[in-house]
């Protein structure tokens, strides 16, 4: 059993906001193990679930208050900057924000090739860039002299991907990489991710709120709610036979692309929280207690993880007697 590629070990991130320093755990005691083989691991949840914070923790943008993150067995804060960036690269949600509007994006590709890949020779550098650009479906000559505003969102996102691929990383952390793109272009980027995983052996952590794309491309999935993972396992299984009440609600809320399912979708009513969000974050016990149709008095203490086959669920409903 080789070491896992990435291990998130009991990680908690606490934020405080507001004048009186209201503290809340954006990420609460999260555990993730990513095996050392090429796979796409989705982290899904609504806004405020902590998924973006988790991505930033892995990318060393935020530092956890408790717990640690290990890459191939080593604490990420003990790995030197260059090695870390050779192995882990990000893709941002907003393609236009990912590049400085005042600089040409090609500059970042050149810098990555120079600083992280370590190429000194100019010719070699341009060659690598041209090759990577065509791998993601872009043309070197179309790209090299333009500024971000001259590209479309889809093209910029491909540029981001090309830049992230230059050092041949082991892991790419993609934070909602397609949510700002037009619907008909999303599948192209998603297919590109799959191609990169299959051909180059790169693993992805794919943060999303779109369960349909998660189903389409990911191998494993973790569903987050208010900072905790409530269910995780092989994505096809979790998304077709959801165990946790929240996952079930998520799947029922998804609009279907089949107008015949209209009545069914309309009839599913969600008990949506009338509370302000903060109260959910500081709820004692299971965080889903205010919305859960099956809430019991037991739920006032947070349930541990129960394993049903290869799916882990955090819900008292699955306690084995």
């Amino acid at each position: 059993m080789s070491q896992p590629l990435l291990q998130v070990d009991n990680v908690t991130k606490i934020f405080r906001y507001g004048f009186l320093g209201f503290k809340f755990r954006a990420v609460d005691n999260v555990n993730i193990v990513l095996e050392d083989k090429p796979m796409i691991f989705s982290i899904a949840g609504e806004s405020g679930s902590g998924k973006t914070t988790l991505a930033k923790l892995i990318l060393r943008i935020y530092k956890p208050e408790y717990g640690r993150i290990l890459f191939k067995g080593r604490n990420i804060y003990e790995i030197d900057e260059n090695s870390f960036r050779k192995n882990i690269q990000p893709i941002m949600q907003d393609p236009y924000a990912a590049f400085n509007p005042m600089q040409k994006p090609i500059r970042y590709l050149r810098e990555t090739a120079k600083n992280i890949v370590g190429i000194k020779n100019d010719e070699e550098l341009e060659e690598l860039i041209a090759k990577t650009l065509s791998y993601v479906g872009l043309n070197y000559s179309d790209v090299v002299n333009k500024y971000p505003h001259e590209f479309s969102g889809g093209e910029l996102q491909r540029l981001s991907i090309a830049r992230a691929l230059l050092p041949k990383p082991k892991l790419i952390v993609a934070d909602e990489p397609v949510s700002m793109l037009d619907a008909s272009l999303r599948i192209n980027i998603i297919n590109l991710f799959k191609k990169i995983k299959d051909e180059l052996g790169v693993s992805f952590i794919y943060i999303t709120h779109d369960l349909a794309t998660a189903y389409y491309m990911s191998d494993k999935i973790a569903i987050m709610f208010r900072g905790t993972i409530v269910e995780s396992g092989p994505s096809k299984k979790v998304l077709s036979k959801p165990l946790h009440p929240y996952t079930q609600t998520l799947l029922e809320s998804l609009p279907q692309l089949d107008p015949k399912k209209k009545e069914y979708w309309y009839r599913q009513r969600i008990k949506f929280s009338a509370y302000i969000e903060e109260e959910e974050f500081i709820a004692k016990g299971c965080k889903y207690i205010h919305r859960c149709p099956y809430a019991m008095s037991k739920c006032k203490t947070e349930p541990p993880y129960f394993k049903i086959d290869d799916v882990e669920v955090r819900c008292w409903l699955y306690e084995k007697k």
């Binding site: 943008i61 924000a97 005042m102 990555t112 120079k114 992280i116």
Partner: protein, 299 residues
Amino acid sequence: MNIANVAQKLQILGETVKALFRYKRFRIGLIIIAIIVALTITSMFSPARYKQWYAYPKDKPPQFSSLDLLLGTTTNGRPVFWIIANALANSLYIGLLTAVIGSHIGLIMGLLAGMFHGKRIETAFILLIDSFIVMPGLPILIVLALALKQHMTIATIPLILSIIAWAWPARNVRSITLSVMSRDFITTATYSGIRFHNILIHEVMPYVLGWHLTNFINTIIWAIGMETALAVFGLSILSEDTLGTTIYWVLNYNALFRGLWWWFLPPVVFLILIFIGFYLISVTVSWYLNPRLRGGGAQ
């Protein structure tokens, strides 16, 4: 940084100036300052004796007979016209030098304070900047002026003023730097292996430079105003002519009540004109820099 880059940056600068020219506010401000600078240049031709007291008949109202007497004379028997010309030159000089020193110190402090966000040294920077902002400027300058009276010359007043002048620009630059550092493209830059100093110069500075220009101009105005305030207290260099010291002598000789309008009006009018001129330029520049106000065009 090669010739092509520099040429390109100069071209962008040229285009920006041309764009600014389209605004009436900017043109008016520039014209006012141009007139003042023209007057300043004439000060180079001041006759040697204009500094001597009683070299001319005193308290004379304006006469068109000669250039010297164009604005009359003071109770000290000095020609107001040449006094004003030199006063403008000195005041502008003080303003510019303070701006050069003070706003650049502010720029560096602000940039560093912003870029060290999250690190422990940031607190030291914030403490330093905020202490200087909170300190009451004029009283401190008064104390300093009193203490350093012997050493004050037109060249050293800017140094004293700079001690206070750097704080607001630093705060301003820090907040811009912080907001730039929180943007996604800084993550891209970090993950492209770009080092700290390169991030500072190529990613952050382009956003900060516009504000730095505004800070620079505002410091000019501030410095001229501060020197005037000190002068009115008698704490400036009374042997030299600045707009401030002119007002000091006006007050000292009670020119207001004695009806010597040709003496007390010019410094006040020119002070106002300088403020308005620079303000119009500064406001147009900062308005132009704000993409939201301008209509969202790319820079």
